[in-house]
């Protein structure tokens, strides 16, 4: 009985070791990359891929709002983009299913300490293509209460949507979207997690364009940049963690 259990454990250890060996070494040398793959990429196949471009500044001038943009358009068709800051207390920043939109997104997020920032981009074959960069930060972004929580801003304007559209040379358009929301992480004393959970975009005919799932690290009153395939009004629907609806229509 004991010998059998030992054999099972040994077998498990060997297979884990074999899988770790198969995986290419992390170019950013993160101490927790394997855990990120297991927790946030469903343990699926991963390849480091220069075609996934992640723009972050070298250091976080404002740990409450670090700008990041991802461009995976060199990969062709993309099912999902997940944005991960390995060493943040809450690593997963967002999951974006671009659908008919370009596999590009821009936003700002909160950072607690220096960390790799990665975009993992899943292609239809199920492989995660990963690109990223180190961000230097002195911290404090995730454990600070939101400003809106202190000022009461969000009591009056919670989930208010604003935005604008710009035509692009490729025949599509750029959408910038801002939602008034505290995006509390739950890590500041006495303030529970409270963030925008789902944002869906549809075109003027009601056809779905893209779906975004932000998580706790996205900055307060988030601004998102999307590149959409066609021009015209965009309908925004969604909700936050408490089920409060988000609704708006951004017209050219």
């Amino acid at each position: 009985m004991r010998a059998r259990a030992f054999a099972v454990v040994l077998g498990l250890v060997c297979s884990l070791a074999a899988r770790a060996a198969e995986r290419a070494p992390d170019p950013l040398h993160s101490p927790v990359w394997d855990a990120m793959v297991a927790r946030h990429l469903d343990g699926q196949a991963v390849t480091f891929d220069d075609r996934v471009r992640v723009g972050v500044p070298e250091s976080a001038e404002d740990p409450l709002a670090v700008p990041v943009d991802v461009d995976a358009s060199a990969l062709g068709r993309v099912d999902e983009i997940r944005l991960i800051a390995d060493l943040n207390p809450i690593p997963l920043i967002l999951a974006y299913r671009p659908g008919r939109a370009a596999p590009r997104i821009g936003l700002r997020f909160k950072v607690e300490q220096s960390t790799p920032v990665r975009a993992a981009v899943r292609t239809p074959d199920g492989v995660w293509h990963v690109g990223g960069a180190w961000l230097r930060a002195s911290g404090g972004g995730c454990t600070a209460p939101s400003f809106g929580t202190g000022s009461g801003l969000w009591r009056d304007r919670l989930n208010e949507v604003s935005g604008a559209l710009w035509p692009r040379d490729d025949g599509g358009q750029r959408l910038k979207l801002r939602v008034i929301h505290p995006m509390d992480t739950g890590l500041a004393g006495g303030i529970p997690a409270f963030y925008v959970e789902t944002v869906k975009l549809a075109d003027a005919s009601g056809n779905e364009l893209a779906t975004l799932h932000p998580y706790e690290p996205v900055s307060e009153n988030p601004v998102f940049t999307f590149d959409l395939p066609t021009r015209g009004a965009v309908t925004v629907t969604g909700r936050d963690l408490q089920g409060n609806p988000i609704a708006g229509r951004v017209a050219p």
Binding site: E61, D62, A164, V223, T235, G248, R249
Partner: protein, 317 residues
Amino acid sequence: MKNRHGLIALALGVSVVSTALVAGPDDYGLVPRAVAEGVWVVEGARESFSRENGGNIVNTGFVATDDGIVVIDTGPSRRYGEQLRAAAARVAPGKVARVFVTHAHPDHFLGDQAFGDVPILALPGTRAAIARAGEKLSANLYQLVGGWMLGTEVVTPAVDAVPGPVRIGGRDFRLLALSGHTSDDLAILDERTKTLFAGDLAFLDRTPTTPNADLPRWLDALDTLQRLDVRLIVPGHGPVVAAPRAIVQTRAYLRWLGDTLHSAAGRGMDMNEVMRLSPPPEFASLSVSREEFVRSVVHLYPRIEEESLRKASTGKP
């Protein structure tokens, strides 16, 4: 609290290591340079804060009067303040009559401790800002420059600087309360030599910094300064120069920065796309231009971007 201990331990570690490697690491090597009759300036490196420069990236100065010297800004640390006072005493022996702090940025007031026996003056808004945010600014600077900061504590200027003419030890000065680089910027004119201590309202050959900037107000302040009868300008960072070059260059940069950010927002650019823009040669040649431009995008773009968005209608299409 835990963080604070970690920081001190880190600072100690760095100090020990650098002592072992370099002789006299805690010596800023401050050399006051006489720029006009009874006016000395101690010029800092045209760099960003680093463990190498210990935060000495700032210009401080002093002016001799019959009652002792008037010190303008105290530098980034206790050690800097003490060395500034010692260096000043070598060229202008006697007491210190007054200290003025031009604004609430850490490289300008964290040497206050060395002047604990002297009245330290600042604009009311500057005093309030140091009382409110001084500790945080000091902790940030510890992280950036390390052991140079040992023993530095925030001393909030205790006395209000009142705008207008003031006579100290028989020498006439004019105090100007302006804003734009921060919410409260003090500029000091020595009437005898027409030397203007512009604080950080003027930079020269070093890219201006904008963490608390209001560009339109800053441009107004520069107009006010340019209307003064001034011979020499001591910018907050960069070389001392005949008027009005530092003002003209700072104005040109701020106009370019504001125009660039507004035009980017008007075209729907994402913040990172803006950061990837390159300043034109005229400004790329200023020191730390890339670094400061990226920082300025972080400081200023979110608000400008917000102005480009309109409230969405809530109805269905």
